[in-house]
């Protein structure tokens, strides 16, 4: 696989995760919007409605809604349905603490985020704060 670019980011939750990018410009409410049993977006008004997020690199601006959302990320991981990494535009307390307890690598403020496309294969390094696009 050929590397197309390496982008710097702010590393928030340590770890390495890779997979196909699943991108949305709409914030996500984990409590109301994600089914932790199936690993699917269940919010009918969301543009990713019905899509699976497990093993994807989920790219979204930030989360909204109940702070219980953090526990939904934990549950997703326990069920083996969690994204392999998360990229935020600018992250927030809910996503950060949820990723921390679920051990999902998380970065935000990625330079060149707009160059990443849906289904690109990407690798996120939450420890060093970098995103590699293949």
């Amino acid at each position: 696989m050929i590397m197309r670019g390496v982008f710097r980011a702010r590393g928030l939750v340590d770890g390495l995760g890779w997979g196909e990018a699943l991108i949305t410009n709409s914030p996500i409410s984990f409590l109301e919007g994600v089914d932790p049993e199936q690993g699917k977006i269940m919010d009918k008004s969301h543009e990713l409605f019905g899509l699976r997020i497990d093993e994807k690199v989920l790219v979204f601006p930030h989360s909204v809604g109940s702070s219980v959302g953090a526990y939904v990320l934990y549950k997703l991981k326990k069920n083996g349905k969690a994204p392999s990494a998360i990229i935020n535009l600018r992250s927030d307390n809910i996503t950060v603490s949820g990723c921390a307890i679920a051990k999902i690598p998380l970065v935000d403020m990625v330079e060149g985020l707009s160059l990443i496309g849906n289904r690109d294969f990407i690798m996120v390094n939450g420890s060093s704060g970098s995103v590699i696009v293949y």
Partner: protein, 387 residues
Amino acid sequence: LYLTNDEERALNGEHGEALEIAYRILLSIGRLTDASHLIKISSAHVSGVSYSTIGDYGKEFLENLSINAKVSVPTTVNPAGVDPRNPYDFNINGDYIQEQMKIIEAYKKLGIIDSFTCTPYEGFYLPSKGSHVSWAESSASVYANSILNLRTNRESALSALASAITSKTPYSELHLDELRKPVLSIQIKMDEFSGSMKFGLLGYFAGRITRGPIALQNIKNPNPSEAKALCAAMGTSGASGMFMINENVDKVERVDFTDNELKKVYDDLNDNEKGDAIVLGCPHLNVNEIHEISELIRDRKLNKKCLIFCSRMAYEEAKQKGYADNIEKAGGKFVCNACAVFTPIISHLGVDRVATNSCKAAHYLKRVQKVSINLKDAKEILDESCR
């Protein structure tokens, strides 16, 4: 973010899984808030106790965590979904109670102080002025910063719990002198500004307009009840964690608060002329506030259900002093150690309209319990509800 060798080792799991998880949370929040390092805290207050808020996922997380973890600073906790000692009042479903009790057990295993109140500063452990603490429960964190002279960020259930276990918090935001200065000032342009209702409405207005500390100009210092209403409403409508009263400020944006703004905020919260049940105690009432209510309704009879939420500690003191008896004789019902909003009790009342004196309760009851709200002073509510 700089970590000491010992913190690094804990983060790498050398001191067990619970500490590893706790440090992962603190490290990540620290990076998010641009902290330079972690500092020691003197106390923690943890939210996320009611089964109505954290649900099964939160419960499972806490059950796992509590197997091998203990808090390492005095740690109070928020109210539960029902009174842990009298859970079967109001015919609450047995499954709900069972799950709620598991959450309480997990917290007890963690070694918390069984405060079960959103007002831990009234009667429970309080560190000395100037201390760094880690308090969740927005009304309590705003109160800590603005009234008690403590320093805390607006913590979440998870970050406060991580701090309780490690006795540390990221050194960022409201822990720093330079970030405890007002970013905006509100000029209160009203005569006779007093009472919990007005302070509550001001707080709801203030919380909406900035995330930073807010200077409130041209008002008197609030008494404890007014301060509680102000802090709770400010925590409800926004992310700001601190206000200061009549502090000299210059070079910050100025916003006016007049009768117009007051009315607009009121109209956003109040959507009914009447309530078929009364909810008081959001935040939990202290013994003086219970006394005031008992004076308002002694020797009278309530003509609708009236729930009064407080800590068991406040209730027991009110019982001793005879205040509670006055209220119970009039038909009022105390609910100890439970949350007025995140509870199945409200839906068990079987009413669509609730009267309350709390802006915070008005906001959440509407959204969580789907009832309409009549927002009024306690005196007005009780006067029109008594025979």
